[in-house]
């Protein structure tokens, strides 16, 4: 599943290290961690080096074979996380996942509904994590809607937390880490969202965005007060667009209607 990142092992290890840092595990404790979408086990090796025990899940048998050949220490499992995870409640001290979550939003077949898969994944993950522990997902969100969908599903399943963005002003180094908290331990420290790296200017300071329903409502209200959707929108099939398409069609040797002052104009209603 982590196929997008296998070509850059160094950066993958770096991201795993950063994800581990964001987990905020108690110091000097040997923890049991979950690596979701472990691929060939590169991220797991980082966990090993830091003295943790891990269990890795991946949907790709060939990647797991690679991991087996590399003789990683963690246990491997063939698992489709969209089907939910088969763990007893409260067994893991944390979970990391590098460049995986965006794949869960894909629907490869008719029976796969992204929202249902995300919900099943997050609800089983929430139960598998010990209270007060965290799950950190490094991911490449396609757009805001996708991020919103993921966040909504996670919140519905009981997670709190938000997005940490490292180097928000750099195109190359910018990284999204979704930092989710699985409840609050009885006597544990209060869960706080960590700061993103490379945040200097006040504009970037808003990068540790906390998602909540009221924020989103506020955004929508601001949008509405700007004059609503209709007024600012330009027609998709404007005159320029039509002319461009015609030009292209002519190049291809297709027959087009000749250009005139009526091109792209709206017709009068017929009745």
């Amino acid at each position: 599943m982590a196929c997008g990142a296998v070509h850059f092992p160094n950066s993958l290890a770096e991201m795993a290290l950063r994800a581990l840092e964001l987990l905020c595990l108690p110091e000097d404790q040997s923890s049991l961690l979950l690596d979701i979408g472990c691929g060939s086990g590169l991220s797991g090796e980082v966990l090993e080096d830091e003295g943790h025990t891990w269990v890795g899940l991946d949907i790709s048998p060939s990647m797991l074979d690679v991991a087996l050949e590399r003789e990683v220490e963690g246990d491997l499992m063939l698992h489709d996380i969209g089907q939910g995870m088969a763990f007893r409640p409260g067994v893991f001290d944390g979970a990391i996942s590098i460049s995986v979550l965006q794949w869960l939003c894909n629907a490869d077949s008719k029976v796969q509904v992204p929202k249902a898969r995300l919900t099943r994944f997050f609800s089983t993950l929430y139960s598998a994590l010990a209270r007060g522990s965290r799950a950190v997902f490094q991911m490449y969100p396609e757009n805001d809607n996708q991020l919103d969908l993921i966040m909504t599903c996670a919140t519905r399943c009981g997670f709190t937390g938000g997005l940490v963005i490292d180097y928000p002003n750099s195109k190359k180094a910018k990284k999204f880490y979704l930092c989710l908290f699985a409840g609050q331990a009885a006597n544990g420290p209060r869960q706080e969202l960590p700061q993103g790296l490379g945040v200097d200017d006040p504009q970037g300071a808003a990068s540790g965005v906390k998602y909540s329903a009221s924020d989103r409502r506020l955004q929508m209200m601001q949008q509405r007060s700007k004059g609503g959707k209709g007024k600012t929108r330009t027609p998709i099939k404007s005159k320029d667009w039509i002319l461009r398409r015609k030009e292209l069609a002519k190049l291809r040797g297709e027959k087009t209607a000749s250009d005139s002052k009526f091109t792209g104009r709206k017709r009068r209603p017929q009745f």
Partner: protein, 125 residues
């Protein structure tokens, strides 16, 4: 797959929700392998709280692994023999081939080269 991981796994077929039956998964036709690793006291103490000890002793008995007491000693740290045996069973015993069957719904998860196949069919999600 270590016995530790077996102890954490339960059947995740959607309709299979009876906690008395979906855990532990019944091991069948098992091939075991012993892989030596370094003993880590911190990790073991952390794991003692997470492991379902009854399930562990039952599974160990089925596999013919002896030496685990019926209950966790009151002060496990002061009992080095127990800690060593627990480490051997939990973290050094690996399942390389075999099957895990759910006693509730009968789903069989196969283990190949130490990797269990936890994929479900469409009607089980």
């Amino acid at each position: 797959m270590r016995l530790l991981t077996h102890n954490m796994l339960q059947c995740h077929v959607k309709k299979c929700t009876d906690p008395a039956l979906n855990f532990p998964l019944q091991l069948q036709d098992i091939e075991l392998e012993q892989v030596e690793t370094e003993e880590n006291e911190d990790l073991l103490l952390n794991l003692i709280n997470k492991v379902d000890y009854n399930a562990l002793t039952t599974t160990a008995a089925q596999l013919g692994l002896v030496g685990l007491p019926n209950a966790i000693p009151k002060d496990p740290q002061a009992d080095p023999a127990f800690m060593t045996r627990l480490h051997e069973v939990l973290l050094e015993t690996n399942i390389t081939q075999g099957k895990m069957a759910c006693r509730g719904c009968g789903h069989v998860y196969t283990i190949k080269d130490g990797i269990p196949n936890m994929l479900l069919a469409e009607h089980e999600i």
